[in-house]
Every structure is written in structure tokens, then in C-alpha cells.
Amino acid sequence: MVHVFNVKDLYFAVDTHSGLVHVLDKIVYGLLTDEIFKEENKYRNLYDTYGETSIKEALTEIQYLIDNNMLYTQDMDHESKIQPVIKAMCLNMTHDCNLRCRYCFASQGTYKGEKAYLSFETGKKAFNYLVKNSGKRRNLEVDFFGGEPLMNFETIKKLVDYGRSLEKEYNKHFRFTITTNGLLLDEEKTDYINENMDNVVLSLDGRKEINDKMRKTVKGTGSYDLIIDKYKKFISKRGKKDYFIRGTFTSNNPDFSEDVKHLREAGFDKISLEPVVAKPEEAYALKEEHVDVLKKEYEKLAEYYIESNKDKNKSFQFFHFNIELDGGPCIYKRSVGCGAGTEYVAVTPSGDFYPCHQFVGEEEFIIGNVDEGITNHLIVEKLKNVSVYDKPACRACWAKYFCSGGCHANAYNFNKDFSIPYGVGCELEKKRVELSIYIKAMMSQ
């Protein structure tokens, strides 16, 4: 399978099954488009434009790639070697929040239920389950999530200590992440997080007026002014450790590249801005009709990204433009999907396990709990069988090894079927992959 595309005057071919990305001369691009290189009566028509000699030289190069499994490589249906074990947890430290973001998938933190806080005892049981059920995997990931996790900060500190105390005995290494709205960040929490968390996700949507339209305080006022300086202070003390300032864009700001610019100009250099996932009836939802505009906006963002990254002082990372063409995950990882329910569970304050945070509150998706472990094997088995080879749309898609089949929760929420991916998400993902490749080529010139 080969995907041929261009961005401006650069031409590319992605050979899906080898993962190779080729930058093409316009002649080769012409020959690969609609596979006209296979039919002499068609490619002869290009002789007038490019000359017979050039066409024949280009055909020789195409044939070389084919002969060396670098183009039109056959898929091998790599049956997964990865025996999935639970190695990552999203700990919902609270089902409560001190903001009232309008687009919150978690019903303003409560996940359609009562307010609740995860206790140290429940967290301990979750960690015990994780170290005992993660097989030979050494690296374990825990994301302190919510609601707003800093509302349960003392328990987080105890759990970090507890996790560290288990590492030696079980030969494990915990990698902690916290996802916060920043409202409760003070000097003590800033220092603690910078010392103990491997990664931090700081929520903010960009420009003040955009952020404040969706990210409201309990009183209904905007949250931008309460948070921005806390984040600036936080990252000034972060050093080289990972963090992302992470926002959401909606149909309110299809010009979201302006929000990325705003965040960059405010001093943040690791930025992630995600399309909102919302029911189509919501006024702020992104729908099929927005896709073309959003693709153009990603193109605009790519140009800004390339320009900024020419200057060390202005350079930054945009999460979805990061692409690993050589040091990335293996084919097995790329084919098995996100790991929800098979490698990753979300844990609620009551100790229930869900396949991921997006399912929390949908009780039919409870797959176990901290006392009994996994109990609902039916759902887990279903989730084990939705690799890119199991989903017809993914099997036929050139980008399948970049997204590994997309988000299971989105597939279910939009199509009531794990095996039918969320179409709008797919379109945007493919555009981001194309642009990431374009950026890579531009920056390697």
C-alpha cells in the first residue's frame, strides 16, 4: 500500500507496510499517482513534459524500491507478539473539580455520579495490582487524573512514596504523570510535581477569550487570569523534564493555530492542542463540515512551526507534529491499538476498573476492581481483538501504523462499535501525519 501526496511543492510517498517515507521528484510523483507507472500507454504521455530519458530513469528508481521491499511492500499481518498485561493506570484521584469546563467529558469531574475522592487505601490496592499483574514489564505508568487531582494532593504524595517503595521488591519503575487544570498550583505543589512527576499535562486552551469561553470557574467566570502566571512559574522551574501545555479546540476556534501561537509567545515550548470530542448536537462540536477548514488550519500551523523552529529561541514542540521515522515503536506496538482495557485501566475512587478514563461512568464498561482484578473478561477480549487488522477501515488505511487504529472510546461513542473508527478523528489524524512528514522533510533540508 502506497500513499502519495504533496504539501506545497514537496511530494511524498508513504510505503505503509515498511514504514518508509520517500520524498519524490515531481516526475516520480506523477508516475506513482494513480499508479500510471504500471501502464506504458499512460506514462508515455509524460514524455512530452519531462522527456523520455528522465521518465525511464525515474521508472528504474521506482523498480529498485519495489525490488528491495521499499515500495508496495506486502503487509505481513503481524500477529501480535505482545502479550498484553496491565502496565498503565489512570488514577481518578477525584470525581470532583474546581472548574466547570463546558466541554468536559467527565461531567465537570463527577463522571455522571457523586463527588468522590480516591483514598490512599484504594490507591495502594491499585498499585499492588499493577506491580503483581504487569508480568515482565519494568516500566509502569501512572497518571494522576480526575476531576482535578490536586484537590487530593496529600494522597498523591503518599501514593508516590508507596509506588517508589514497591519498585525494588518487584523490579519495577513507576513513571508518574499528573494532569491538572493548574488552579491549585502553589509553590509547594510546583516544587513537588517538578521533583516527582516524569511528565505533567497542564490544561489551558490558548487565547484568553477562547479559554474563558469554555474553561469556567465555579462562579462562571473565566479561568485564564487565575492560571497563566502559575503555569509560567511552574515551567520556569521545570528544567528539562517533560511537560505539555494541553488545550482543546472546538468549533469556536477553528483558527486554533492562533492559540498555539499565543501559548508559544507566552513562553511554553511543549504544546498539545487537541480537537474536542463531543456529541454532534453540542454547539461547539467538531463535525464533518469542519474538516476542510481544520485541515487548512493545520497547514497554517505547520508553516508557523517550521518558521519558529528555525530560531532556537522560538522553537517549540507541537505534540501532533512530533513523528519518529526511525526510533519509533515496532510494528507490533503499531498494530495493537491504544491498549485500553488490555494494557491500561482507569481506576475510580470506588476502586472500579474501566478500560480507560473515557468510559468511566458507563457502568456496563466496568471491567474489574482493585480487590478482584479483572472480572469482565468479555469486554477485555473484545478490546484485545480490535487491532488494525481487525478493523476493515484501518486495514485499508495508509496511516494505520501511525495511529494504531485510533481511540477505542471514540469508536464506541460515535459508532457503538469498537471496530469502526471515529471518522472525523481519522481525517484529522491523516492530515497531521502528512504535515509531520512535510515538516520533517523541510527541517532536514
Binding site: 526511525d326 519509533g328 506496538k333 501511525f402 495511529c403
Partner: protein, 45 residues
Amino acid sequence: MKYIKTLNKNKLTDNISSKGCGECQTSCQSACKTSCTVGNQKCEK
């Protein structure tokens, strides 16, 4: 090659017998939480 430049050095199909350790990050844990991207992750080996 005069007309084609390949950006990567390694194929996904290279040395696959030594791959599949499963030590890599769970894809949703990094910065998205609403999508799934593996193309930007790193192999832990």
C-alpha cells in the same frame, strides 16, 4: 538516487524477531487523552 530520497533508515519490518517487548509507553498517557498516536512515540529498546 536522483529522483527519490528516502527519509528513514530503518523499515518497520527490519529485525522483527527482536521486537515486541511491550516496554513502550501506553499511547494515550502522554498528552492527548482523546486520540491515539503511536507514530510520535519512541521505542524503549
